[in-house]
Symmetry: C2
Subunit: 371 residues, 2 copies
């Protein structure tokens, strides 16, 4: 069974739980549910308990057979429930039969570390932006960052391209610049190209990214569709970094939506995400520490044979938060610094070095060494 | 310019408006924005006004060039803003250059009426469910409904298919049953097959639906991705009925998210939706009348050369609400009755006839006649 837990504002927990169990599976009035349908298809209410905050936890088990693909899972777990007031998906436990339907991250934590040759410490990532800057500028930023020992260059979510030609020109120049730096340093800084495009252009975008030498793509699952990301990740040898754009409505109202750990952790892993960016607490956005920790936990938790993924706290992080983030999230973390590295008065190289020095002071083991 | 209006909870409207204008376009600290970037790329704050409820309306104009495709539009209008507390997208005005990039509904109100040969009145739709019933049962329901004069049979959102074979068997039998009824009645009842599948199966699903004789598909844009729907609609001669599953997080918190009319109206039309299902007020879900009216208005409002679409209020509607819904939403409406027709003690045929009789008493002109 697929076990979901909903936290709900209600005076009638049993009644609401049954309504959800029916809504998510057969969506008909009770009078139209015969005994066999009820036994074989309708969700089963396994219990309800009062929570300390006065809401109720509703535990519902759905037949495993209902879920053959990712849209099925989203539909069963939170499709029509999303339209019910005061109901939040707070727990999701998937049986081996469902997990077996998903490949998960193609690289995962270990695979990304293999590409990079970096073990035992958080990775440092910077962002190519703002939109409007020249390819030369981006290539120079990428090269300086890579020369200074940075681990991942990602293109900004806002680098929306008019044409495939624009995309290929930028990615080509930047990958070349990073490769040049890698030859000097002997390291393997990775390049992630922005794959936010119309879905009928995604295939060409992914193929071009590979052909040009990028190791990964930055992609916004909620803007494009979660199953689009799963599909593209499954068919291309590209590491996937997920951007949280358009995800905020799931989290804003804490009495509704989906726990961040379930969506940006568990479900993103099913969608093949290797690195999940989320907005860290204390940055430009108002997320809570326990929510961020929940995402990081879900990215590393056992999930059948599905690989673990990197947590990537971001959103206005400054270099003086390295220590705090490293101790909060541990080594399997990608620290994303956009403005903090790009805008440092000492220059991109010095800022990157300072950032890495802090990381290495906290995780001194085998910097840069292959396992 | 693309003009967006945000309604926001804030004590510093100008500051927040500028933060949004930067966030949605370049996402860097102010210090990194040079004069040219600010002029050409960053959104322009056109004004802020206090609303009667104490919030502020923030008016921001984004350069038209930023948006080449649907994911771009979603990203610019509400990508990172979705992660800001208390900010709702309340208005969206698109210039002709942006609208020209979208085909919109392939049929629209007039095209669907052409298929059906029904003018000047709301259409009556029923739903094949529950999941678990046999194909024979569904075919029989579809046939009875079509014989009684029903306009559209749609497959339920919960009819998730294990295999392409299951899908084709059901659709084949049901289309045949509806065609049989149509030969008897001389009418053209339409059949919409459920196209909620893994995205890599959608193409085959759409092709099979056409080959088997379905006139349309039921598809959940938020479960699959809005641009997936646009892409599939653009490449196949199938009318598109959108199901609102997974859309609820945009609407639950009225101080956050997106106005239902913008998402389920304007944006759905850009995505090629011919019939937009939304949960009506006073049904199983708690939506407000003004929100539902906003969706209906946006579906019929001028939008460049993009066709108008049908409003389809649903979610536990009963036949005694026909008069109320017809007068509220007018003739370009699809009235969706699932349980109310399937569970009527008089039988599906009688329930359909009763429903149509009410519609025809309100819109007596040329029932069933071609224009």
């Amino acid at each position: 069974m697929i076990r979901a837990v909903y936290h709900a504002v209600t005076g009638e927990p049993e009644k609401l739980a049954r309504a959800i169990a029916v809504e998510e599976t057969v969506e008909v009035p009770e009078a139209l549910i015969d005994e066999r349908t009820n036994r074989e298809i309708v969700g089963r209410v396994e219990g309800t308990e009062r929570l300390p905050d006065g809401r109720f936890a509703l535990r519902i088990a759905y037949p495993t057979d209902l879920v053959k693909c990712l849209p099925d899972l989203l539909s069963v777990a939170y499709g029509n429930v999303s339209m019910m007031e005061g109901v939040r998906l707070a727990g999701l436990d998937l049986p081996p039969e469902v997990l077996a339907r998903f490949r998960g991250p193609g690289f995962g934590v270990e695979g990304i570390r293999d590409l990079l040759g970096v073990r035992g410490r958080p990775l440092v990532c910077t962002v190519l932006k703002p939109r409007g800057a020249t390819d030369e500028h981006f290539a120079k930023v990428a090269e300086e960052f890579a020369l200074a020992g940075g681990d991942i260059v990602k293109e900004d979510n806002n680098l929306l391209d008019a044409t495939q030609g624009d995309f290929e020109r930028r990615v080509g120049r930047c990958v070349e610049a990073v490769a040049r730096a890698n030859r000097k340093t002997g390291r393997s800084c990775l390049y992630f190209a922005n794959a936010c495009a119309a879905v009928d252009r995604l295939e060409r975008t992914a193929e071009a990214a590979i052909r040009l030498g990028a190791q990964g793509i930055l992609i916004p699952p909620l803007l494009l569709g979660l199953d689009v990301v799963r599909d593209i990740a499954a068919r291309h040898r590209l590491a996937v970094m997920a951007h949280p754009a358009f995800s905020g409505t799931f989290f804003e109202d804490r009495r509704h939506g989906i726990e961040p750990g379930i969506l940006l952790g568990t479900i993103y892993r099913l969608a093949g995400v290797d690195i999940s960016i989320f907005v860290n607490h204390g940055g430009r956005f108002n997320y809570r520490r326990e929510e961020c920790d929940g995402v990081a936990r879900a990215l590393r938790a056992p999930l059948g044979r599905i690989r673990t993924a990197f947590a990537a706290p971001a959103g206005g992080m400054t270099i003086d938060r390295v220590k705090e983030m490293a101790s909060e999230y541990g080594p399997d973390t990608v620290l994303v610094f956009g403005g903090a590295i790009l805008g440092d008065s000492a220059g991109i190289g010095k800022a990157t070095e300072a950032c890495l020095a802090r990381v290495l002071s906290l995780f001194p083991d085998r910097p840069g060494a292959r396992a």
